[in-house]
């Protein structure tokens, strides 16, 4: 118990002293996670929306595949992308392995099915009357799509935030594709694992506190985004 209290106190001191190494790790983590989430959302939200509103042959199969991909282990993605980006790999010539771009690639593959599947779920739950109402009030196809998206916004924002939470907390992809290079690809989770292996817990605990704080901030953001119209839905 003493050990934990001592680590917490030292971690708090480290946070307060604005330790540059600590904050650079946080910066890399946030940057990589934000870029991954942005790319996955830009592709996943329209994909999920399209799957939800369109009737096409094999729709159930597509949704089943998406739901299956939710359980994709990070190490499997790490291995797959590693095979592509390593020197012998198909994309080896790009020299992306052990760069933040490699982490982003893996993380996008990880959370794209999350964003798409939860968007499908959020849009499918939207009452059919919204589409009809928008159309009869004179909305064109894009305006109608926007009206439906707007009504599904709480579910979609929730999906994006859950996806961000997934990538900021994952370690397999960041370790296998980023290589945990100090000052370059070291993220909060890879740094925590390394410090734990070294038996140095102060930095690990400080990063743990920040990870929790980021998660809390994300949830506050979600509440704010839902605003007063999200309260009783």
């Amino acid at each position: 118990m003493d050990f934990l209290t001592k680590s917490l106190a030292e971690a708090a001191g480290m946070l307060a002293s604005l330790d540059p190494e600590l904050y650079f790790i946080v910066y890399v983590s946030l940057k990589v996670a934000l870029v991954s989430t942005l790319i996955a959302s830009a592709a996943g939200v329209p994909l999920g929306f399209f799957i939800a509103i369109r009737k096409f042959r094999g729709k159930r199969g597509v949704i089943t595949v998406l739901n299956t991909l939710l359980a994709l282990p990070t190490v499997v993605i790490g291995l797959f992308v590693y095979a592509l980006l390593s020197r012998q790999g198909a994309l080896g010539s790009l020299g992306l392995l052990y760069t933040p771009a490699a982490i982003v690639t893996g993380q996008v593959i990880l959370i794209l099915p999350w964003v798409a599947a939860f968007t499908v779920s959020a849009v499918s739950r939207i009452d059919e009357r919204y589409r009809r109402t928008a159309m009869t009030l004179g909305a064109g196809p894009f305006q109608t799509a926007f009206a439906i998206l707007r009504e599904a916004r709480f579910g979609i924002i929730g999906a994006v935030i859950a996806a961000f939470g997934r990538v900021i907390a994952e370690i397999g992809i960041a370790m296998m594709l980023g290589g945990n290079i100090k000052g370059f690809t070291r993220t909060m989770t890879t740094a925590m694992a390394l410090e734990h292996n070294k038996g140095e817990f102060v930095l690990a605990v400080a990063l743990g506190i920040i990870l929790l704080a980021v998660s809390l901030a994300m949830n506050i953001l979600l509440q704010l985004a839902q605003g007063r119209y999200g309260e009783d839905r």
Binding site: D127, T133, G138, R150, D232
Partner: protein, 346 residues
């Protein structure tokens, strides 16, 4: 110019033919009521007229222009019609933003959107609700805001799907008053569906009856599942009560439907000392009497155990002569040609 022309229009949902209209023309500036039982195709017809659902087969012409159902050409036409759903749904924002949605979609300026939205809200008595969250309104308030939202689009045609269904009495009379006022508008046609013939009579200038997806005569008001018996040309209504029809009907089948023309029902007050059943006569009780433009609507309970409601449309003189008042026990007979027997589906 006719507003709508429908020719051989069919709407099919899988095996079910929800709508099957050979020909229907609606004139401009009409105030029309759409009547028919549940599942008769009223909502489907309104969706076709609102240009929201292309028919499976057939041609629709709107304001003299054939509807091609291609999104590009459809949008300008659809912007002339607005449908208010039976249970309207509000966008999850304020009342005023809901009402200004139509003008916004039409690219109107913000000041115009606000002005027209407030005007329309005022018209339905909901101006003071402008800044409230729309999804927290009651059913009646939602219906009124939905009508305001439709009016803000400045439609040439306003379609209302059972506008007073599921609305409390107080709001029902408010909504009826709004529809009554709208029916007298010069540049707008209005078509509303209802189960209430009295409401239809009061508000509309013309009526359309639908039965099993097809246009029907007003007899569709009195439509019953029937068992047709060959002997003596008798018909049995839902509670096995037999009615004389004169000559035997052409179709003899179980599981058929029979419609009784309300104008061909004769109602006689029970003569004193002669209230017992007579051959070919049917005992009934008068439930309701109301005035229509040129006739008197008499609603009768003709069931043996109650619950078989028949509507008769009588001449005012006949009602006066027979001294029919609500609550009376009466005798009814049907003219030989009062019955229309529907051929059961193959």
């Amino acid at each position: 110019m006719t507003l709508y022309d429908l020719t051989l229009v069919q709407v099919q949902f899988g095996a079910l033919r929800a709508l099957d209209i050979d020909r229907l023309s609606l004139p401009e500036n009409s105030a029309c009521a759409l009547l028919g039982p549940n599942g008769s195709g009223k909502t489907t017809l309104l969706h076709v007229l609102a240009l929201l659902r292309p028919p499976t087969r057939g041609a629709v012409s709107f304001m003299g222009e054939p509807v091609s159902w291609r999104e590009k050409t459809l949008l300008p036409l659809r912007r002339k019609v607005v449908l208010v759903d039976q249970h309207p749904i509000m966008f999850s924002t304020t009342v005023i933003k809901n009402v200004s949605y139509g003008p916004k979609m039409r690219g109107e300026s913000r000041s115009f959107q606000k002005r027209i939205a407030l005007e329309c809200l005022d018209r339905v008595g909901m101006k003071e609700y402008a800044d409230r969250p729309a999804h927290r309104l009651s059913g009646g308030e939602t219906q009124r805001v939905a009508i305001a939202r439709a009016l803000a689009c400045g439609p040439r045609v306003l379609l209302l799907d059972e506008p007073t269904a599921g609305v409390d009495i107080e709001n029902q009379s408010v909504v009826e008053k709004i529809i009554f006022d709208l029916c007298s508008e010069k540049n707008m046609s209005i078509l509303f569906s209802t189960h209430n013939p009295i409401q239809a009579e009061r508000l509309a200038r013309s009526k359309i009856y639908l039965s099993a997806g097809r246009l029907a005569a007003p007899a569709a008001e009195n439509r019953f599942p029937a068992r047709v018996l060959q002997q003596n040309g008798l018909l049995a209504l839902i509670d096995n009560r037999e009615i004389h029809t004169g000559p035997p009907p052409e179709i003899f089948s179980t599981g058929s439907f029979v419609s009784i023309d309300p104008e061909k029902i004769r109602v006689y007050a029970n003569a004193r000392g002669n209230s017992g059943p007579r051959n070919g006569w049917l005992a009934a009780k008068v439930l309701q009497i109301s005035a229509e433009t040129d006739r008197i609507r008499v609603v009768l309970d003709a069931g043996k155990a109650g619950g078989t409601l028949l509507t008769a449309l009588l001449k005012a003189g006949d009602v006066r002569q027979n001294r029919i008042v609500p609550g009376d026990s009466v005798q009814i007979t049907l003219d030989p040609d009062a019955l229309r027997i529907e051929k059961p589906p193959a």
